[in-house]
Amino acid sequence: MSATFRLPTGGLIDRDTALRFTFNGRSMTGHPGDTLASALLANGVHAIGTSVKYGRPRGIVAAGSEDPTSLVQIEQPFPEPMLTATTVELYDGLVAHGLPGQGRLASEPDPARYDAKHVHCDVLVVGAGPAGLVAALTAARGGARVVVVDEQNQAGGALLGTREYLGERLSQDWAADIAAELRNTPGVLVLDRTTAFGVYQDGFVLALQRRTDHLGFDAPADAARQRVWRIRAKQTVLATGAHERPVVFADNDRPGIMLAGSARTFLHRYGVLPGTRAVVFTTDDSAYRAAIDLARAGMDVAMVVDARPAAPSVLAARCSARGIQVRAGHVVTGTEGGARITDAHVAPLPGTEGNPETVDCDTLLVSGGWNPVVHLFSQARGTLRYDSELGAFVPGEELPTVRVAGSATGALDLTSCLRQGRDAGHAAALAAGFAPVGEVELPVSGARTDERPGMVLWRVPGELREGAPDTRFVDLQRDATVSDVLRATGAGLRSLEHVKRYTTIGTAHDQGKTSGMITAGLVAEELGVELSEQRPTTFRPPYTPVSFAALAGRDRGELHDPARVTALHPWHVARGALFEDVGQWKRPWYFPRTGEDMDTAVLRECRAAREGVALMDGSTLGKIDLQGRDAGRFLDMLYTNKMSALKVGRIRYGVMCGVDGMVIDDGTVIRLAEDRFLVTTTTGNAAMVLDWMEEWLQTEWPHLDVYATSVTEHWATIPLVGPRSRDVLAELAPDLDVGNEAFGFMTWRDTVLDVGAGVPARVCRISFSGELAYEVNVTAWHGLAVWEALMAEGEKYGITPYGTETMHVLRAEKGYPIVGQETDATVTPQDLGMSWAVSKKKADFIGKRSHTRAENNRPDRKQLVGLLPVDPEIQLPEGAQVVGTDRLPDPPVPMLGHITSSYRSAALDRTFALAVVRSGHERVGETLYVPVGDDLVPVTVTESVLYDREGARRDG
């Protein structure tokens, strides 16, 4: 099908190349330089989709991202919903269809790359229209680092939609010249197809660059399709232009009804006529130019309907000369048509002579004035002021780092825009510390010098016929009408924010770019208040829609969250370990042998630790070096027990509480020297504990001579566990007397391991299993070699690597709590049965005062106990509730507590659990019940230590 509405010449398109595309099942062609919208119009297609609520046909209202109606779903090359046809650059093979307000996300993963990039500049210019270009050039010539972002695929802004001259040059060519100079200036980055969508504090601006969207099927897979630019600018110039504002009247939503300036853009930029016969309805001068340009291009322009009492004489005369009738003091009161407008009803306003008439037309162009694009200025916390002449909100103040230039200020003529651009660029560069060299010479514009604000008209006056549906659409995407606005005000809503939420006006993809101001006007009219006293709705990012894929960027898959690994990780992987995520760490969970399930593997690992020798990777334990004269004093305050009395060479277990007296962490404290300790923390709390220390040192006790340094990753830590651990270590540490006399429990020794040429190691007699155990610490560099040496040395004893699950079982058998599993920020050391670890002599420590509160001494607090299911085969689910009766009473059922840990024990040859239970310590020996499914499982309460209560095994 030939493009019947394409002019033979003109426009910024390449007529020599045809691009095939399919829309709503129909094959058509367009050209490079087209948007999907312009290509559709060239093919005579106006009806894009249907409206979300009423199913009315909707077309193309605007030529840019402000368009409220032309929502399309892309199907090929990759499904993408909710794009406006006016912002989709045409490419060969595009398949799309119109949407009834909602689209469909792809069911398969998006194969495209998306990324982000940071950039810094002295001056950021948003918008490469006439004002922005001059601002950027002025700042760049002064030597400032300049970034220019522009939404279009080429510089020029509004100039692309006109055919005016700047000096001797066609304005489009002038814009291209400036853009070229900017690109060739060192320190200047010009980003086209890039929309600044969010302005934040301290000159931080986010912009989305559509890098390969326009290449369609030819987009290289290696290149990021879209990029979020994270721009930090000392100064920002917003040259964001203006959006044309429609006027509301009955049946104003039919395809073929379009903003006048947009029709002019389709003509000049794309060489497309919007139809064959047009009526133009305006309240200002700018639409006359559209009428004249379209008539000159061969379109039958029947009439200009001007709501103002008098038409502008010069422009009206030029219209008459072309046979265009001009009706001043008239308005369009309604339209006829179906999938396309067929007629416009024109009538005089009260006070104007004339008769209603009906004009046949397939195009109705509307202009109700211009709204400065103040979105980003408002996001920058700039206050807005209502300009009653323009009928629009304009920037109402100067900001120290954000300037506005061009039609974004409300300026209507090109000369003012250029001058404002130069001034803003100059001021921005100066504020950023650069003195611009000379003045950029501004071209002389003959156009729009006589531009005056038009008449402010939100809607054509007139009442709705009783019972008739309201077709006076305010927000065409949300199907919201004048009646909806009146219903909101009638319900007592006065704030625009409330009206917005009540009517949903401005909440669609376009965020009310063509409807927000009209809504404000209608509300003010209805309430009889001044718009200057109304606060506009808050402009929030994003200015235009941004996909989640773009925001996610490269933070997907393995890059979504760093997986922290230890020096031993490659060995675990090679050995087939399954991993457990602990914070960001990957920890071996268990090491299954061929054919083993988890239960079997864990029982085997547990048995090895209790009966032979086993080892695990404990490198993720947090380790903090504390140095300074007051290190002991500091630790006395951090831990509930006394650390300053610890002798050099010895180790003590400690519990740490918050100011509320609840357990926040536990671990061991090693005294390395009089003024030096090494503290271990739980894996997940390492950073928290370091921050906790710093907080106290920096805010409360800055006088203490203590320095805390994380050494977590300096060390590889390998607990070597089991009755044969001593034999294995003895062979690997020939200089170390590993006997119990010389190397007692809770002491440490430095030695050199017989690995390679000798590896220095620190060995600690610490046990988290109750077995004889040695914790071997070497630098992370040596971790792998030492682990492999231990494996080789222990082979004859059946040395077995084990993971976190076995560690959990072993410690639970001994009743050792895990912070975060047995505790949940409501558990005191006393609740855990650890009063022995809480000093009664120390004058003070964090949490001490709270331990004396009555609440913390209630006898019915939940306390840690062991639970043995009467049936030794039943493994209770962790988190299950504990109740006191063998039959559930009517709800609410009194809950006594819950299961915190539950395992199958090789050593006990049965299942067991740990639980926190009300008055648990007093209930030892009682039978309680645990609801599991429909059953109540009887359990016997025991002390929390279930294995080797006398501690006979720890010394081997």
């Binding site: 140095q627 994380s710 690995v755």
Partner: protein, 203 residues
């Protein structure tokens, strides 16, 4: 420090080939096993004494590092905070003269700390025509030579890993990144991914 080198494995040893494959867009070389000591001191005399012990004055300005040749050879001192420094020395130091001991002696009775953190981080040297592009994908710091001249040293995020970033040669575009050992593989994977477009020759 240990004299043994045969039984050491660096965090990015397994990545050497993959990282080498990022050239020419980006040259990434792990410089493993450097001696690193976290030094805390604020007393000016103590800081001066520490510098004298190394033959390299400690950096006086925030976010900078100093470099020099002294009794321990080529040594860098990185400013990490108002009273926090990282001393980075060669890996093949004579073990009979541990730099840790020398620093501890220089600190004397002044308030402070000296901690061996050699294996806490590994060191990655970055250069190449796209080094600033790649860094800009993940680092919010302005690395333009005018903002980050040679000698700049900042603690920041590179993608989602905390790093210490040194500007070794601003004009030539040479950087050093020190990353926690557990994050090194993540960073290597991120760098490899960030290079995809530059390796493909698309810019």
């Amino acid at each position: 420090m240990t004299a043994d080198t045969s039984s050491r494995t660096s965090p990015l040893a397994a990545w050497a080939d993959r990282l080498a494959g990022l050239a020419p867009a980006l040259t990434v070389v792990e410089r493993p096993f450097l001696t690193q000591l976290t030094v805390r001191a604020s007393d000016p005399d103590a800081v001066a004494a520490l510098g004298a012990a190394l033959g390299v004055a400690f950096p006086a300005d925030p976010c900078t590092f100093t470099r020099g040749d002294g009794p321990f050879g080529d040594v860098e001192v990185l400013w990490l905070g108002p009273d926090e420094f990282l001393v980075v020395a060669r890996s093949d130091l004579d073990p009979r003269v541990p730099v840790e001991e020398a620093l501890r002696t220089a600190l004397g009775s002044a308030r402070g700390a000296v901690v061996d953190t050699s294996a806490q981080r590994t060191t990655v040297a970055l250069a190449g025509p796209h080094v600033r592009d790649v860094l800009a994908h993940g680092c919010a710091v302005d690395l333009h030579p005018s903002a980050a001249p040679t000698g700049t040293c900042v603690q920041t995020l590179l993608a989602r890993a905390g790093v210490i970033l040194q500007v070794v040669d601003a004009e030539a575009g040479v950087f050093t990144v020190l990353v926690r050992s557990s994050f090194a593989e993540y960073l290597a994977a991120w760098l490899s991914d960030a290079c995809v477009e530059y390796l493909a020759g698309v810019s």
